[in-house]
Amino acid sequence: MSEFWTIDFVPLLAAGLSALACALVGNLLVLTRRAMAADALSHAIVPGVVIAVALAGVAGSVVVLIGGIASAFAASALVAFLVRAGRVEPGTALGVVFTTFFAFGVLVLEWSGLARTGFDVHHVITGYLEGLIWVGAEGGDGGLLATVATLPPVVFELALVLVLVVAILAIFRKELALLAFDPVFARASGLPVGLLEAALLTATALACTAAFKSVGVVLAVAMIVCPAATARLLTQRLSTQVALSAAIALGTVLFGYAAAILAPRAVGSALALNAAGTIGAMAGLLLAGTALIRARA
């Protein structure tokens, strides 16, 4: 059991917190057909994060989050500008901006020397849940609080981001729902559309940036898209859909992580699969399975 607390507990907790934040935002992004925009955004935050870390000299939570949000707003403004002023097709504009931002971020990472100091860009993409080992899990004499304080900092960062995302979505829940279902009416009735878009963008950028260091960009995108889309197949009501998506996200994390650890063991192998990868794949299988069943029903 102590092995579970040391090796498996923190990756599960981190993946669960991140998946919740992503899935909650994902409901609105899927409804407004912006799943690929979320994928683009998750790549476009890279240069902001890298530059912020290079300038500040530390990879602290606040520095990373501010850099990510700044980058997301810059990319989003540029896409809007290309579409409006340059008459570029929206999907193409996304493709141009996110590949350019990402390429620039990778080069800054390589050239600034950050790539050699443990800021591994592979992990940004693939996730490195396996690296989240809880050294203090055995517990000292300091009691529960002291033991909790020994958790890796990324857990607190992810928890903070989840709280922020939930707060943003809760404050604007009625307005955002109206904007998602009936944008024409929302505009006509005088809703502050610009402010709402900015709030949604901030929440998305927060969820993606927090996923960055340990969970990985790929898992973030899978969790933004799949649980919300699966829930949408099962219900028409937004409140039910949000609750369902959260449950699906947590379930996927649990079963995906278990599959990564147990599947190789079942065939007698000692290795473990990339957990972020198996969780993402499982989210997709669940969506495909639900789509198959609902189409027949």
């Binding site: 057909r33 999907g91 141009v96 350019t100 290795l271």
Partner: protein, 290 residues
């Protein structure tokens, strides 16, 4: 000729392969852009990872040399076609839509690929180091055989586009008219998707999973600022793609710590920025003059 002689045969082969690929990518990408399906190539590029990992594992099981380009590209091609089929299937389910289907296939295909890759990395084959390069690409380590394969595929793609250029242009600029005169719009769309997928698969070794899509997206977007005629846009996109791929590969070879994928993308972005301002048809500064 002296210049070419100084570079050595292998370098010339790689350069020709890269240039041909950029050319084919620009041409195929133009039609994807005009049909508003530019980002499908992004999902296809990510979706090739499980195919490559699977081919690697299969090759290792059969005792073949898994780094052989034909094996990996075969696996990538099969996975790319499956990804395309999955997107189309999922997009047709009620209440999902093309955008969600594309993103779902992208993320989940790549996730499955990562899980398989973690198996590959534990194999003591010793030659899987090349797979690490696939994330950001590298033209420098390319074998002449791979360059020939890439170049050959590029020529094939260009030949197909040349054969049906007129039909593709009609569908791209006026799909309703195309349907009226009896053109198989759905089949031509599928052809464009397949051509883009082939280019993206061929581009993986030099540009990597994340940025291969840029070769298909940025050159056509840049070319679009210069003309409203499909023929002109295709030729320009092919030229810009070719120049970006060549210059990017060269920069990555000259500068240290500069992976090929990002270098190609930034060169292409430069072409895009210049076109955005100075393009004669739709550029920002063209309005008053036209």
């Amino acid at each position: 000729m002296n210049l070419l002689a100084g570079l050595g045969f292998n370098t010339v082969v790689v350069m020709v392969g890269v240039a041909a690929l950029g050319c084919a990518a620009g041409a195929a990408g133009t039609f994807a852009m005009l049909r508003r399906k530019a980002l499908v190539s992004d999902a296809v590029a990510h979706g090739t990872l499980p195919g490559i990992a699977g081919a690697f594992l299969l090759a290792a099981l059969l005792g073949r040399a898994p780094r052989e380009a034909a094996w990996l590209m075969g696996g990538a091609a099969i996975a790319a076609i499956l990804s395309l089929a999955a997107i189309e299937w999922l997009a047709r389910r009620p209440r999902i839509g093309h955008d969600t289907a594309t993103a779902a296939v992208l993320a989940c295909g790549f996730g499955l690929g990562l899980a398989l890759m973690s198996v590959v990395q534990t194999l003591s084959v010793g030659s899987q180091a090349g797979l690490e390069q696939l994330l950001f690409g590298s033209a420098a380590g390319m074998l002449p055989g791979e360059a020939w394969l890439m170049g050959g595929l590029a020529v094939l793609v260009l030949a197909v586009i040349g054969l049906v250029l007129k039909e593709l242009s009609t569908v791209a600029f006026d799909p309703d008219f195309a349907a009226t005169i009896g053109l198989p719009v759905a089949r031509l769309d599928a052809l464009v998707a397949l051509l883009c997928a082939s280019v993206v698969v061929a581009a993986l070794p030099i540009a990597g999973f994340v940025l291969a899509v840029a070769l298909v997206v940025i050159p056509p977007a840049a070319a679009r600022f210069w003309s409203d005629r499909a023929g002109v846009v295709v030729v320009l996109a092919a030229a810009i793609g070719s120049a970006s791929a060549l210059a990017g590969a060269a920069l990555s070879a000259i500068l240290t710590d500069t992976p090929t994928g990002p270098a190609i993308v930034l060169v292409a972005a430069l072409f895009f920025t210049v076109s955005l301002f100075f393009g004669r048809a739709r550029g920002l500064l063209a309005g008053g003059a036209a």
